[in-house]
Symmetry: C2
Subunit: 263 residues, 2 copies
């Protein structure tokens, strides 16, 4: 097998479809947008779509498929959502039931698939501007925290905003805001800068998900809305059925990150 | 009655609610965002919400209410969508049935209300930067054209993109793009600059809606997605029932235009 880092998004999706790649997707298909996946039965689809509309920072919609559709149109013209993601989580009534490598046999004609932006896109932009991304430097998962900020509810869907934290040198905070502002469809600008307590976070060394990272002298904790929020909210709402990607095992699109950027 | 130009959005909505103002809302409550209204029965709501998600330039969602809700939360904390718009159009199966000043007696618990951004917001920003807005100068309606660009369909909803045209001096086109890019939630950046034929428009002197405006030497026609698109699409789709504002008779929100701007 050719080094996966040299493959195109289409070639990587082909490997995934054949069951030959079931690893996390960070660091591959660099430059291309990756997406979170949430699949819900149609009875929940309006409320969840409304939830995303009301909470665009944690739930930036890149593409929503028609009920029953499993082929993307916008993010790729030859992708099958049932097979092209390395690993899927299957939840029933909010409980994780199993992890699978494809969902063809589970597919129902009333499934609605939501693909949401992922911060991998803006992290590349930060790195290009020499702004450090600590969890990448330290080869860790990004630290995630359940904040005290409530999402706007929609129908039965409700829950707290989950945020990621990146320590930014104080003289680069403004630039980090500017750069990530260009990527509204992948979480966009920070939701909070500075004192973690303001948004209900007591200890930066104890993230709720992911790993703690080193804070250096002169660095400011900067918080962005996190793509774990929709999954957390879906789980709290306990729909009969929900299928998601396994965190870190994303859908790889044919869309360049720069195509998502504005200004 | 105090001069309407001196009243706050809440005071104007109160007049409208009492039936004491049924005129167009251009030029009043300056600085505050105004919104287009589309009300559909719940059976159409998912598809229309999906249509808006797929076509954010013509259909920039400012707020969507829960089924049956008639009070806004985001755009105002004391508005009633059934009474606070100067005039409403009632369509059945895509045919205009009547024009009314309130819809309280027509209200059904399955109605879903969509409020969409309006270009009044970015026109204020253009004027502040000394970029001429010809139809305002000439006291006309903005010229609107049915373009050859198809919207992305969603369920039964489909149709062509309707655009507005503003002649911009060629040395100010870049700045007009920059300024309107800041207002993504009110149609945002132009969808086309220059030759009208490229987007299927044969004669700028013959708009499909609104009035023709003067094109001066050295000016370039610049086209923006138009809020008439969702109404045209809804009418083409012929739902059993649809209620909209009467064009130009908008919902006046408590949100400042600048609160909608990014960067």
């Amino acid at each position: 097998m050719k080094n996966i880092q040299q493959l195109t998004p289409g070639q990587i999706r082909h490997l995934i479809r054949k069951g030959r790649w079931d690893q996390p997707t960070a660091g591959i298909a660099m430059g291309y947008a990756q997406a979170n996946l949430v699949i819900l039965p149609q009875q929940y689809a309006f409320d969840f779509l409304l939830f995303c509309q009301r909470n665009p920072k944690p739930c930036p919609l890149l593409e929503v498929l028609e009920p029953g559709e499993f082929e993307t149109r916008f993010l790729s013209s030859d992708a099958d959502i049932r097979t092209d993601i390395p690993r899927y989580h299957l939840y029933r009534k909010g409980q994780l039931q199993k992890t699978v490598k494809e969902i063809k046999s589970l597919w129902k004609p009333d499934f609605v698939s939501f693909l949401l932006g992922c911060s991998f896109s803006f992290e590349e932009a930060l790195l290009r501007a020499n702004i450090p991304v600590r969890h990448i430097e330290e080869n860790k998962n990004v630290p995630m925290f359940i904040s005290s900020i409530a999402c706007k509810s929609a129908g039965a869907f409700h829950g707290p905003l989950v945020v990621t934290m990146r320590p930014i040198p104080s003289n680069k905070v403004t630039q980090a805001v500017q750069i990530t502002s260009r990527y509204a469809s992948v979480h966009g600008a920070p939701i909070h800068i500075g004192d973690p307590l303001t948004i209900g976070i007591k200890d930066l060394r104890k993230p709720d998900f992911g790993d703690p990272v080193t804070m250096k002298k002169g660095e400011v904790p900067v918080f962005w809305a996190c793509g774990v929020t929709p999954q957390a909210v879906v789980m709290k709402t306990r729909p009969d059925l929900c299928i998601t990607h396994v965190p870190g095992h994303m859908f790889i699109s044919d869309l360049l990150n720069e195509e998502l950027a504005v200004l």
